[in-house]
Amino acid sequence: MSLEIIELSGLATIQDSGRTGWRRFGVPSSGPMDAFAFHAANKLAGNASSCAAIEIGLGDITLRAKRDCVVAVAGVGYGLSIYVWDFPLWSSYYVRAGWTIRLNKLDSGMWVYLAIAGGVQTQPVLDSVSTNLRGRFGGLDGRQLQAGDLLKSGTPSHSLNELAARTLPESARPIYSDNPVVDFIMGPQEKYFTDESIATFMSQEYSVSTTSDRMGYRLEGAALKHRSKAELISEGMTMGAIQVPSNGQPIVMMADSPTTGGYPKIGTVASADLPLLVQCVPNKSKIRFRETTVANAQKKYRELMSGLDRIVEE
């Protein structure tokens, strides 16, 4: 079973749940920007959480099914049509051989995930098929997908009829918004910032710069002031870490961000709220940050991910 890409104007890459075990060598985790939507698409398609799916952002994609298959689509900011019908996201669909699947970009939201029952099959590199664009490995020859690419899928976990027409109810999903309040955990370098700057960060609105990408989201808003130096000796960092360089404009590390960095980190976005942040649209969304504790953030993420068990048959 396979999908052929007919048209593509966006950034489409193959991603699995991410590359682990190689960060000490400087290899970013990659993987999905919106982990919740990625896992939802996989689960709707009956796939293991380690299966690969297609991540699409910034533009449209049209694919054609070469054989009958089941696809599931989850994410924000896209309209879905299959053959001649429009369908909602967060559901799985039976697609007949020859039918087209079209995802067109809407105004709100950024990233959408298309999973195929059986998962996208390609050669793992460093134990993962996630695409690392900068290092040019993983995915399909280490590059973004393009028209003409043929994506093979594995064996579905159940019959196609059993896997089709499943949906994840809205109540089980994150509350995506153009004006999200995003929880973060303070530190480790909060002492590098003036008290006023900490207060500013938690009270002012920030927007996402158009120069943002899968490596990092640059925020624009009230500048944060460092007490003295704006550099530290490099140390490990993770997706969601909020670095603040000397210009005072925070940068949130994303899936392809380097494994280490040398700017002070005012905090790190809670895992449960990363999906809200990554789906923010440059020059449109207004973000507010709210402090939380590690324990509360962990609880929130466990609760969010347990929502994936609430898939219903239509």
């Binding site: 000490r24 060598f25 400087g26 690392n132 290092g135 140390e235 490990g236 590690v294 962990q298």
Partner: protein, 217 residues
């Protein structure tokens, strides 16, 4: 300083063993990383050694902050200088100067040294891979002799070829893939630092020792 364990978000903790670039502190970081690796603790995903810190990524479905904190306290107590590792020594042939080391002359004149002195001082010492980062396979090595301490370039280059040997501050590094770069480029090695499809994808590992050897061919 006394080791500190602080949170970096809800699924990583940073173990701070010092706050500057110091070989003894860095050795402790690698020892701690090895202790954690050999213990194969359920819920610890991976660690990232840096100059004076070890970042520990953990699974929040398996471990709470209290639990990871307790585990790391136990491991910290097991670090003993007597148990210091026997690092691997990697020899790196370098062609200094020329097209692939375009800053060698500027470096020499800035430091008031002859070109051959820069080469001699750079290749004399055995360095330690303090950490890896920036790009896959990029080694941050130190410390350079004080005579070779250079500021970073004012305007970073947009494209530096893989294998380019560079210096900045008290550190030396080798570009592992073609990437932008702001360090002073003094030479080039034919060795491949990163080959994702190889059985051993990385030339270096954190904690390795490195000796540059001038290749005059």
């Amino acid at each position: 300083m006394k080791p500190r364990i602080v949170s970096l978000g809800d699924s990583a903790v940073l173990v701070q063993l010092g706050d500057d670039i110091d070989l003894t502190v860095n050795q402790c970081v690698h020892t701690l990383a090895n202790l954690i690796k050999t213990s194969a603790i359920n819920g610890i995903i991976e660690t990232v050694p840096a100059y004076a810190t070890l970042l520990v990524h953990y699974d929040l479905f398996t471990l709470s902050f209290t639990q990871i904190n307790r585990i790391l306290r136990e491991k910290l107590a097991q670090i003993r200088e007597s148990e210091s590792r026997k690092p691997r020594l990697v020899e790196v042939p370098v062609m200094y100067g020329g097209e692939l080391g375009p800053d060698l002359e500027t470096v020499a004149s800035h430091l008031g040294l002859r070109i051959e002195d820069v080469i001699r001082i750079h290749s004399e010492k055995i360095y330690t891979v303090y950490m890896m980062g920036f790009t896959p396979g990029y080694p941050y090595m130190g410390k350079l002799d004080d005579a070779l301490v250079m500021p970073r370039l004012e305007t970073p280059r947009t494209r530096v070829p893989a294998g380019t040997v560079a210096i900045a501050g008290s550190q030396t590094g080798i570009y592992s893939i073609e990437s932008p770069g702001g360090w002073n480029l003094i030479g080039w090695t034919p060795l491949k630092l990163f080959d994702p499809n190889s059985d051993s994808p990385f030339l270096f590992a954190p904690g390795d020792e490195v000796k540059f050897v001038e290749d005059e061919s």
